[in-house]
């Protein structure tokens, strides 16, 4: 994958109605991407300090995808978020202290130490946590979408997966089932060009976005380093799903700028490829665009960065103050006593502003869908 290859797919991006995003929305998009970058940088330093048991994974360079995609969702939509998608957790309302505490195996982490890194889903925010087997959550997202369809609710399930996932048999099962049942589900493929060390050409011959047609539903390719392009494509996919138009596969072209994990020096990636993508850093690109195209003052952009930096630092202190879990409960909780519904997630996009409070949510979703 070269930069010119990546540029070739950008023409396929969905044109964004500029009115969909307000000035405040654009500031939020930058804020969430910056929050993901800053929190992951802090987590990496905690890992290097020996405060993170096990291993460390991040999504550096892919911030536009999880933020742009999650930004298109309503409160009652549901997500299965993967390990390079921290921005989606933040958009839905997870705070960085819970993320950092989770990495450190602390009681204050989202799973309270039951599972590590980004293997979590905040139930109260409408998320189901990933498992390591990929792309298992695509099948679970199908099931959530199936329930929504059976009950006639104008809601959507969204999940992420990577290029490597598209080589697994469960990916075919997921796409085929979603196509046959015409489910209200959105599949966001983050093609970061390496499944651990394996490049695209050893994973597949036909690009996954082109396979969508074979499953009978829409596919789109977008520049995954352009947060507004991701938002536009996912927004269109979500609206299609909500209106009964079935699934969409949105392939976001990007580059994994760090190793598979912090233990991986990714010597297998040509340095010039990394340099090309470094020049297309999604956060720097968007910050520049806000100034040049959308009339932001440089000070505004700098202020967002400074506010996020201070916020994440405070969150890190809270996470570090959180105790390790008591060992006793490790033996509890294998079985449930009762089922309880997932809660609704935050939906900061202005398109959902009317849906921000309690009982209004369902009605607003239905108004938008109508």
């Amino acid at each position: 994958m070269t930069l010119s290859d990546a540029s070739a797919v950008m023409g396929a991006a969905v044109p964004l109605d500029p009115a969909l995003l307000t000035r405040a929305d654009r500031a939020e998009l930058l804020r969430y991407m910056t929050m993901m970058r800053t929190a992951e940088e802090r987590a990496l330093s905690l890992y290097k300090q020996g405060k993170v048991p096990g291993s460390f994974y991040d999504g550096r360079g892919q911030e536009a995808i999880s933020v742009g995609a999650a930004f298109a969702l309503s409160p009652r939509d549901r997500l299965c978020i993967l390990h390079r998608d921290l921005g989606a957790h933040f958009v839905r309302g997870v705070t960085p202290d819970r993320y950092l505490a989770n990495y450190m195996g602390r009681a204050g982490g989202v799973t309270g130490g039951r599972d590590g890194n980004l293997h979590f889903g905040a139930r109260e925010l409408g998320c189901v946590g990933m498992v390591s087997m990929l792309p298992d959550m695509a099948l679970v997202a199908n099931g959530m979408a199936l329930a929504m369809k059976m009950r006639g609710e104008p809601r959507v399930a969204l999940t992420f997966f990577g290029d490597g996932s598209t080589a697994n048999g469960q990916w075919h099962e997921a796409m085929n089932f979603a196509g046959v049942q015409r489910l209200p589900v959105v599949f966001v493929l983050e093609n970061n060009h390496y499944a651990y060390s394996t490049p695209n050409e050893l994973e597949f011959v036909v690009d996954p976005a082109r396979r969508a047609e074979g499953y009978g539903f829409a596919g789109a390719e977008v520049d995954g380093n352009d947060v507004e392009a991701v938002f536009a494509a996912v927004h269109e996919a979500v609206e299609r799903a909500r209106a009964g138009g079935g699934p969409t596969l949105v392939e976001c072209q990007t580059m994994r700028m760090h190793g598979h994990g912090a233990h991986d020096d990714m010597g297998y990636v040509p340095p010039e490829l990394l340099a090309e993508w470094e020049a297309r850093d999604p956060i720097q690109l968007y910050a520049a665009r806000l100034i040049e195209e959308f009339g932001f003052a440089a000070e505004e952009v700098e202020r967002i960065d400074a506010e996020v930096t201070a916020y994440v630092a405070a969150c890190a202190e809270r996470a570090l103050a959180s105790p390790l879990p008591e060992p006793g409960p490790a033996l509890e909780g294998v079985f449930a006593d009762r089922w309880e519904p997932l809660g609704d997630g935050a939906a900061p996009w202005s398109g959902w502003a009317e849906a921000s409070a309690g009982a209004a949510v369902g009605a607003a979703v239905e108004r938008r869908a109508a």
């Binding site: 293997h119 889903g121 087997m133 099931g143």
Partner: protein
């Protein structure tokens, strides 16, 4: 009460729960208008509509995964594996996703996976297995294996109402050969409770599934000597019922059609060895399938699966010990 076959009781239990709760739905291969390979859902699509009796593509992980997601969203899905053997193709979703979600993040996954299991009819290596021990190694799954029509109905209803993933092993050999009185309307049997299927004083046969009718037949020959414990639930195990019977008789035969190594019998034997050693008057015996795949041709299959005569012989030997 109505007399019905084991298979009719499963249908009756499923139909009753679907009438009671509209979040209950079925999904699986060929279960709609075709009624399923064994006709458990015959007539269901006509009564409940094709959406609640969902014909799926041939994709077991997609079935279990869809059930998991739908359950998280408040449905009560009942998956049908066409044969229990095929859960191997859906195993990842079952053991890695559904089984662990509650422990990892407090997410209940109320799904039922129906598993037509067992051999004895020349089904060969891929249509005859008894895979229950696979599930016992996956914390987070409940496992039930009824032997009577009434228990088939009642345990299925309890499995549907349980907030956890439940593997429901229904033995194909019992489908049309076992008949019994079944309570009409809503009927539940608690998960985790064994049943004294026959009282006796000299020997306890601990069995489940197809081994229960064989144990009862062996018991008939020996008057009041043989007690038969029908486990019904394999996880959680009814430890108290097992230990109480062993303490009474002092001799134990554990019988199941599944293979021997690391099977349910091994777990039960370990429990008895640890908790009731002083009460034993004879070594614990197991009567199981041999540790080989289930062969196709009748004489080969009979050589591998435990036969009624084997049960009688094992009982005689233990009683004479």
């Amino acid at each position: 009460m109505a007399e019905m076959t084991y298979l009719e009781a499963i249908s009756d239990g499923l139909r009753t729960e679907m009438r009671r709760d509209e979040s209950v739905f079925c999904l699986g291969e060929d279960i709609g208008h075709f009624g399923g390979a064994f006709k458990v859902t015959a007539g269901f699509a006509e009564e409940f509509g094709p959406e609640r009796v969902l014909d799926t593509p041939l994709a077991e992980n997609a079935i279990v995964g869809a059930a998991t997601g739908a359950a998280i969203e408040g449905m009560r899905p009942v998956c049908e594996m066409q044969f229990a053997d095929f859960i191997a193709c859906g195993f990842d979703q079952l053991v890695n996703v559904a089984a662990k979600l509650h422990y990892r993040q407090g997410q209940a996954v109320p799904i039922v996976v129906r598993l037509p299991s067992g051999g004895g009819f020349s089904g060969g290596p891929f249509h005859s297995q008894n895979p229950e021990a696979w599930f016992l190694q996956a914390p987070g799954l409940k496992v039930v294996a009824p032997a009577t029509a009434a228990d088939a109905k009642g345990l299925l209803a309890s499995a549907i109402r349980d907030p956890n993933p439940v593997c429901f092993l229904e033995h194909k050999g019992l489908y049309r050969h076992v008949r019994g009185e079944v309570p009409e309307g809503e009927h539940t049997v608690p998960i985790g409770e064994a049943r004294v299927a026959r009282e006796g004083g000299e020997l306890t046969v601990i069995a489940y599934g197809s081994a229960v009718p064989a144990a009862l037949a062996a018991g008939e020959e020996r008057g009041e000597d043989i007690e038969v414990i029908d486990l019904r639930s394999l996880w959680p195990l009814d430890r108290e019922a097992i230990l109480a019977s062993v303490r009474k008789t002092g001799k134990v035969l554990i019988a199941h059609e599944a293979t021997r190594a690391c099977g349910v019998g091994a777990e039960v034997a370990a429990l008895i060895g640890a908790e009731a050693f002083e009460d034993l008057d004879a070594p614990i015996r197991r009567l199981t399938a041999a540790d080989v795949p289930i062969p196709f041709s009748p004489p080969l299959e009979q050589a591998v699966l435990p036969q009624l005569e084997d049960m009688k012989e094992a009982c005689r030997e233990l009683l004479a010990y």
